[in-house]
C-alpha cells in the first residue's frame, strides 16, 4: 500500500477494515448471497468502526480523512462482498450529500444507526405537487432503509430531498448484489422534505455521484483481485494433463491479462482519489476509474470462471458471484454508456 502513500492514521483505518473483513465479512459472504440475506451484522460492524463519516469534514462531525483511505478500504471489502461495499458507498453518498446541504440529518447518518439509501439522478424522479413521481430501480438498501436521500428534479431544476415513511418494499431477485437489500422504490405516500434546491442541490448530487463512481471503482478492483486470487489458488491445486493448471501457459496468460487489467484500473482509482484529495475536480478521473475497474472486474471474473471450468459455474468458488456482481455494478449509477457520454462532454465538447 506504500504506493498510495497513506498516512499512519489512514493506514490504521485500512488495516482495521481489512481485519474486520477477514474476520466478519468473508466467512458468511457466499451464504448471505445465496440466501439473499441482508448483511445486517456486517453493516453494523461498519457503523461501529465509524466509517460512514470517514470523508466528512471534521467540522461537520466526520473524520475528515478524504478519499484515499476510502478507496483503499473499499478494495478490501470488495474482495469479499460487493454488496457490503455498495452499502457503505450508499451511506457515504448520503453523508456527503447531507453535508453539502448542511442538513442536520448528517449526524445520524455518520453515526450509522440504520441504513440510509441514496437515490441518484439517473432514475429521473420528479417532484410534482409535493410528491416524488417515478420509480427508482435496484436501489442498494432500498428494501430496508427507512430514510432516503433523493436526487430529483423540480420543474427541470435539481432538488435534493429527504424521504421517509415509505411502504413495504421487497428485495429484488436480481442478477447480483444479493445481500445489499436492493429494491425498486416508489415514493407514493412518503413523507418528504426538501434539503436543497438548484445549485446547492446540484453540488450535493454531484458529490454523491462522485462517491458512487469512485467507490464502485475501488470495490471492483477488490472484486477483480478476488477472482485472480481464487483462480491462482485453484490453478495451483487442480491437476490436468499430468500437471497443475498453473503450469499451463494458457492458464497463466489469462491470469496475467486479468491482473494487468485490474492493476491498471487500480492506478486510475488511486489517481482519482489523490486528485480529489488535493482539492481538484476529479470527475473525469473517477469516471475513467469506474469504467476501467468494472470492466476489469467482469473480465477477471469471466476468466476466473473459465480457469475453474465446471467448478467456476457453481456457487462454492465465489467467482460466479463476482461475475454477477460485476455486471450489476456496471449498470448502477447511470451505467457505463451514460458515463462514456459524460466523458464525451467533459473531454471533447
Amino acid at each position: 500500500m506504500h504506493n498510495l502513500q497513506l498516512t499512519e492514521d489512514q493506514e490504521l483505518i485500512v488495516d482495521t477494515v481489512r481485519k474486520f473483513v477477514a474476520d466478519s465479512v468473508a466467512p458468511a459472504a457466499q451464504e448471505h448471497d445465496e440466501h439473499r440475506a441482508f448483511a445486517t451484522n456486517e453493516f453494523a460492524g461498519l457503523a461501529e468502526l465509524g466509517l460512514f463519516g470517514l470523508a466528512v469534514a471534521e467540522a461537520s462531525g466526520g473524520a475528515g480523512m478524504g478519499f484515499v483511505p476510502f478507496v483503499a478500504a473499499l478494495e478490501g471489502i470488495g474482495e469479499h462482498s460487493s454488496s457490503l461495499a455498495r452499502l457503505w458507498i450508499g451511506q457515504v453518498q448520503c453523508a456527503l450529500a447531507l453535508e453539502s446541504a448542511a442538513s442536520s440529518e448528517l449526524e445520524s447518518v455518520v453515526a450509522g444507526i440504520e441504513p440510509v439509501a441514496f437515490v441518484g439522478p439517473e432514475h429521473g424522479l420528479r417532484l410534482e405537487g409535493g410528491a416524488i413521481v417515478g420509480t427508482a430501480r435496484m436501489v442498494p438498501a432500498g428494501a430496508v432503509a427507512k430514510r432516503f436521500v433523493v436526487a430529483a428534479t423540480d420543474a427541470g431544476k435539481p432538488v435534493l430531498l429527504l424521504a421517509s415513511g415509505l411502504g413495504e418494499r421487497k428485495a429484488l431477485r436480481g442478477l447480483g448484489l444479493a445481500s445489499a437489500g436492493c429494491a425498486n422504490v416508489v415514493f407514493a405516500g412518503a413523507k418528504m422534505s426538501v434539503l436543497a434546491h438548484g445549485d446547492g442541490a446540484d453540488r450535493a448530487i454531484r458529490r454523491a455521484q462522485f462517491v458512487a463512481w469512485l467507490g464502485t471503482a475501488a470495490t471492483a478492483v477488490g472484486g477483480g483481485f478476488a477472482s485472480i486470487a481464487a483462480s491462482r489458488r485453484h490453478a495451483g491445486e487442480r491437476i490436468a494433463f499430468g500437471k497443475p493448471l498453473l503450469a499451463q501457459e494458457a492458464v497463466v496468460r489469462k491470469l496475467v491479462n486479468a491482473r494487468h487489467a485490474v492493476d491498471a484500473a487500480r492506478q486510475l482509482v488511486w489517481h482519482a482519489a489523490r486528485v480529489q484529495d488535493l482539492g481538484e475536480d476529479a470527475t473525469v478521473a473517477a469516471v475513467q476509474a469506474r469504467l476501467a475497474a468494472v470492466d476489469a472486474m467482469v473480465f477477471a471474473a469471466d476468466e476466473a470462471i473459465q480457469i475453474h471450468g465446471g467448478f467456476g459455474y457453481t456457487v462454492e468458488y465465489h467467482v460466479e458471484r463476482h461475475y454477477r456482481d460485476g455486471k450489476t455494478l456496471e449498470v448502477l449509477d447511470g451505467g457505463s454508456e451514460a458515463l462514456r457520454s459524460l466523458l464525451a462532454v467533459r473531454q471533447f465538447a
Binding site: 430501480r137 442478477l175 490436468a240 459455474y313 455486471k327 450489476t328 454508456e337
Partner: protein, 395 residues
C-alpha cells in the same frame, strides 16, 4: 496453364453454395418455433425455482423432439444433425435448461447408441428413449478429470458375465432425472485404450445420485454427481468393444459440440432480440430512431456474427450427416458460437441497464445460462487447440 483462365463455358449453371434453408427445413424450424412459444412458457419459473422442466420435456417427447437422431427402424425420425441443430437453436432461444436436456438426450446419448450399439442393445433401449419414458445422461467427467477426460478413474472390473463398476461421475447433466446412463469406465490400465463405454440403468443396485450442484445458470437442468458402488453391469451392456471408450467419447463429442453450438446460437439470438427490441422502441415523436450509434454498432456486429457462426454450425452438421469427420469444423462452430452468446448476453445486460439486472426481462437469466456454453463439452481453449492442431499438423 491456359492463357485464359475464365473462358470456361462450364461456368454457366454450375452449382453454387446454398446458404438458405429448403422449404421443408424452414417449415420444420417454424413448427418448432411455434411449439416453443406454446410449451416453454415456464422458462422463468424453471430458473427461479430451480425446477426441472418436466412438463416441457414431456411435451417435447410427445412432439417427437427426443428422437430426431434415431433411425426410423428404432422409432426415430432420423432427421440427422442439421435438423437437430435447427431445433436446438429454437428451443434454447426460449429456455436453455430445456435445451440442454434435449441436447444431451439427442446429441450425446441417442446418437452414441445409434452409432455404436448392436441391434439387440438398440431394440432394448431405444423404445424407452425415443418416447421420453427414459431420459439419457452422459457420464464422462469426474472430479479429477474434466478437460483431461482420459484421466478418468471410474473402474469396471470384469467378473464372469458382468463388470463390477465403482467410481463417481461429476457434472452429469440431467443426472437426477435420467434413467439411462452412458458411463465411461476404466477396464484396463492404458490411459486411453483402457477406457470402455457402458450403458447403466438408474434402477440397478449401487447406482446413486450424489451431490446436486448449485449453479450460476441452467438452474432448471439438474447437474449432479452419479455414484457407482459395486454396480453389477451385465457384459451385454458394454458398448462396442472393450477399449473403444475413448474413441466413442471423442466421436460423440463432435456431435455434442454441434448441440452446444446450436444452444449458443439460440441463446445469442435471444440476447440479440432483446437488444433489437430495445432499439426498436427508441423512436422520437415522428417515429425516427433515436437509438445511439454505438448501440446500433453493437447490434450490427452481433447480428452479423450470429449469421456467420450459424453457417459454421450448419456446415459441420451437414458434414457429420454425410459421415465426414468434422472435428475441426465442430470445434470452430462451438468455440465461435459459445463466445458469441456470452458477448451478446453481456451486451444485452449493459444496454438494458437496470431493467436488465432486476429480472424484469430475460437478460440476466440469459447472461447466467450463456456462461456454461464456453465450459462444457470441451472448454473454449480445448476447441482452439483442436482447431490449431488441425491447421498446423504436418500434412
Amino acid at each position: 496453364m491456359t492463357a485464359t483462365v475464365t473462358n470456361t463455358t462450364k461456368m454457366q449453371n454450375v452449382q453454387v453454395p446454398d446458404f438458405s434453408l429448403s422449404p421443408e427445413l424452414a417449415a420444420f424450424r417454424d413448427t418448432v418455433r411455434t411449439w416453443c412459444r406454446e410449451h416453454l412458457g415456464n422458462a422463468v419459473a424453471y430458473d427461479a425455482e430451480t425446477r426441472f422442466p418436466r412438463d416441457a420435456v414431456a411435451a417435447a417427447a410427445k412432439a417427437g423432439l427426443l428422437r430426431t437422431t434415431v433411425a426410423k427402424e428404432f422409432g426415430g425420425s432420423a432427421m440427422g444433425n442439421l435438423a437437430s441443430c435447427i431445433m436446438l437453436e429454437e428451443i434454447n432461444s426460449v429456455c436453455a435448461s430445456t435445451g440442454v436436456t434435449i441436447s444431451v438426450h439427442n446429441s450425446l446419448v441417442n446418437s452414441l447408441l445409434g452409432k455404436w450399439c448392436n441391434e439387440a442393445q438398440k431394440r432394448r433401449w431405444f423404445p424407452k428413449l425415443v418416447t421420453g419414458e427414459w431420459l439419457g445422461a452422459y457420464c464422462l467427467s469426474e472430479a479429477f478429470s474434466g478437460s483431461d477426460a482420459a484421466a478418468l478413474r471410474c473402474e469396471a472390473k470384469k467378473e464372469g458375465d458382468h463388470y463390477v463398476m465403482n467410481g463417481a461421475k461429476l457434472w452429469i447433466t440431467t443426472g437426477s432425472e435420467a434413467k439411462l446412463f452412458v458411463v465411461f469406465a476404466r477396464t484396463g490400465p492404458d490411459r486411453v485404450k483402457g477406457i470402455s463405454a457402458f450403458v447403466v440403468e438408474k434402477d440397478w443396485p449401487g447406482v446413486g445420485v450424489g451431490k446436486k450442484e448449485r449453479k450460476l445458470g441452467l438452474r432448471g437442468s439438474p447437474t449432479t454427481e452419479i455414484v457407482l458402488e459395486n454396480v453389477k453391469v451385465p457384459a451385454d451392456c458394454l458398448v462396442a468393444q472393450e477399449g473403444q471408450g475413448f474413441t466413442i467419447a471423442l466421436d460423440t463429442l463432435d456431435g455434442g459440440r454441434l448441440g452446444i453450438a446450436s444452444q449458443s446460437l439460440g441463446i445469442a439470438r435471444a440476447a440479440i432480440d432483446l437488444i433489437r427490441d430495445h432499439l426498436v422502441k427508441q423512436v422520437d415523436a415522428k417515429g425516427r430512431s433515436t437509438a445511439t450509434q454505438p448501440d446500433q454498432w453493437t447490434l450490427a456486429d452481433l447480428a452479423a456474427d450470429l449469421d456467420a457462426y450459424r453457417f459454421l454450425t450448419w456446415r459441420a452438421a451437414v458434414l457429420r450427416d454425410n459421415g465426414v469427420r468434422c472435428s475441426t469444423e465442430a470445434a470452430m462452430a462451438k468455440s465461435c458460437a459459445s463466445r458469441l452468446c456470452n458477448r451478446a448476453a453481456r451486451a444485452a445486460v449493459s444496454m438494458l441497464g437496470l431493467a436488465g439486472v432486476t429480472g424484469e426481462n430475460p437478460a440476466e437469466r440469459i447472461l447466467r445460462d450463456a456462461r456454461i456454453t464456453e465450459i462444457y463439452e470441451g472448454a473454449t481453449d480445448i476447441q482452439r487447440l483442436v482447431i490449431a492442431r488441425g491447421l498446423v499438423a504436418p500434412a
